[in-house]
């Protein structure tokens, strides 16, 4: 007698759930899921009109395209430098602010503030600072050094990494601060009584509790690293110095040429690459997080 009633409640919950999900599901399907299937299809045919199936030919062509390879290398290099730096520095900031420091909440606000400042607003200041005859070079030359053209040389990636860190450290730091505050006190106190030094406690205990957050911060930093294109574009336009030529530039140029096959193949390759990286991070988190959840 009990089971049918339970079933009915389950069915009702299911219907409610479907109704509430419907607008989002329809929109996401229409604007993302279905057209993405079309993108996959386009990446496998010769052109949208003849629809001749060509297998992986579009991908082979793409992977021989010098501009795509250049953009891919630059983007990979940028994210490879920026993301680990963001994770390490924001963790360091969070640990520093975790202590009883005066003006703690003001400091937190200062670090978080770049998040809300539009890239387009501060781009004027960046130009004034990093220009060939800009403020940074004035300072360097005043100190007896020689200036470099920050945005048009091998240093340009470093500049963008700095801008990225400026914008994103606060957000990552808040995530770490919340995680630090949520670590249970008992194991830490026990370790202290046993005479463990703060360094040992940090690396042996705290870091383990921080593993899920570190994983999340890494993923969000990676996602946000692709948005560094905004600063690059606003600072240097459509045709930046070669080390700043990112995948988004490549896509913009391909959109202009309306080369559907190239666009689709590039979108599919990036989708697979990002999914693979995220999958790897998920797997790593699963392995590291296991010994905590007994």
């Amino acid at each position: 007698m009990k089971k049918p009633a339970h079933d009915r409640i389950g069915r009702r919950a299911r219907r409610t759930s479907a109704l509430f999900l419907a607008p989002s599901f329809l929109g996401v399907s229409l604007f993302f899921f279905i057209p993405f299937c079309v993108v996959v299809y386009y990446s496998l045919v010769a052109d949208p009109i003849s629809r001749r199936f060509v297998g992986l030919a579009n991908f082979q062509k793409l992977l021989r395209n010098a501009a795509f390879l250049q953009a891919g290398r630059n983007t990979l290099l940028f994210s490879g430098i920026a993301v680990p730096l963001a994770v390490a520095l924001s963790l360091a900031l969070a640990v520093a602010l975790d202590r009883s420091i005066p003006l703690k909440s003001q400091l937190r606000s200062f670090f978080l503030s770049p998040l809300v400042v539009p890239a387009a607003s501060v781009v004027l200041v960046w130009q004034v600072i990093f220009h060939r005859s800009g403020a940074l070079n004035s300072l360097i030359e005043a100190l007896g050094g020689t200036g470099v053209d920050w945005l048009k040389s091998g240093f340009s990636q470093l500049v963008i990494v700095a801008l990225y860190l400026w914008k994103n450290l606060g957000y990552d730091m808040v995530l770490f601060m919340a995680a630090l505050a949520a670590i249970p006190k008992e194991p830490l106190e026990a370790a202290q009584i046993d005479g463990a030094s703060p360094t040992v406690i940090f690396f042996r205990l705290k870091l383990r509790y921080l593993a899920p957050t570190t994983f999340f911060v890494t993923i969000m930093s990676l996602v946000n690293s692709f948005k560094a294109f905004r600063e690059i574009y606003l600072l240097t336009g459509d045709y930046p110095f070669e080390t700043l030529y990112m995948l988004q530039h490549f896509m913009n140029n391909t959109f202009r040429a309306l080369d559907y096959q190239k666009l689709s193949a590039a979108a599919v390759v990036m989708f697979l690459a990002i999914t693979a990286v995220i999958g790897l991070l998920f797997w790593l988190e699963g392995r590291l997080g296991k010994d905590l959840e007994q």
Partner: protein, 292 residues
């Protein structure tokens, strides 16, 4: 004693570092109160397209200045009264960002409740695909967006940017995490009292999610107030482009105006931030991990 000194040093160091974070924003604001002459004397060399193109004195090197020689509201008067293009682009930003925020938060709150009341295998799979989609950069999602916009004949209209923006699943993720943390018993008790799902959603769940809702509003607004990628691909008509793209196309004659426009452009997100920083911090902290 050594501990105290260490802490003092750390404080000094952190304050200096924090000042560095505030510096560009402060510079933008103080420079917006400088006269055109002062700006072009200080920074003209950066913006001069050809040598000697500016009028009047121009330094060979940039001199960064925090305090204007004389506070001038001239630039503000110019962008607010004389050059309507700035206000027009500002308005373009508003009518792109506001519908996206309103739409995305509404659709997402509904969806989050849907993901909370029933958690079958299909729902979890869908939620997971939302997460994957949320993590995809514009480089990937703009291609499907472009195809749909072209198919529906709305390329180069605002709808091409606004509609995909509304269905971007970022808010769904954050709100679902928050709603799933509300004890199930509350829902069951309300249900026994005869409340229907819509009533439970509006009277119980939404009030409980207030800080998550506010932080989603801020985060989505900031991101879209700052939009660049979508505009370059989906809205190439210069008249309809937002200030976020237009500000970078300023020419040498107008740098003074640009600082004032940049300062005005900061106002809406900064006000939202000052008003709801606590909620924002709480909302970011609630994201925690990717698990639902």
């Amino acid at each position: 004693m050594r501990r105290r000194i260490g802490l003092a040093l750390l404080t000094v160091w952190l304050t200096a570092f924090a000042a560095l974070f505030l510096l560009p924003t402060v510079l933008t604001v103080t420079n917006s109160f400088m006269s055109t002459e002062e700006i072009s004397a200080g920074y003209g060399v950066v913006y001069a397209s050809a040598p000697g193109s500016g009028s009047g004195y121009m330094a060979q090197q940039v001199h960064l200045k925090f305090i204007p020689d004389m506070v001038s509201l001239r630039q503000y008067a110019a962008i607010l009264l004389e050059s309507p293009e700035y206000l027009l682009k500002f308005w373009n930003s508003v009518i792109l960002a506001v519908p996206i925020v309103a739409g995305q938060v509404t659709v997402a709150a509904l969806a989050a409740y849907g993901f909370t009341v029933y958690r079958g295998r299909g729902r979890e799979l869908l939620f997971f695909s939302y997460i994957i989609l949320m993590l995809m950069p514009y480089q990937v999602t703009l291609v499907p967006n472009y195809l749909v916009a072209k198919f529906l004949g709305m390329l180069d209209t605002r709808r091409a940017v606004v509609l995909p923006g509304i269905f971007t699943p970022f808010s769904v993720f954050l709100l679902t995490k928050t709603m799933r943390r509300i004890p199930k018993e509350i829902r069951e008790a309300a249900s026994l009292d005869g409340a229907g799902p819509w009533r439970i959603f509006t009277r119980v769940y939404l009030p409980q999610c207030r800080s998550a809702l506010y932080s989603v509003v801020i985060l989505v607004f900031i991101d879209n107030w700052n939009m660049v990628e979508q505009v370059l691909v989906l809205l190439t008509d210069a008249d309809e482009q937002p200030l976020s793209v237009f500000l970078s196309q300023i020419n040498a004659g107008e740098i003074g105006l640009a600082f004032a426009a940049a300062a005005v452009y900061m106002i809406p997100p900064v006000l939202l931030f000052l008003h709801g920083e606590g909620y924002l911090v709480e909302g970011i902290a609630d994201q925690g991990s990717l698990k639902g």
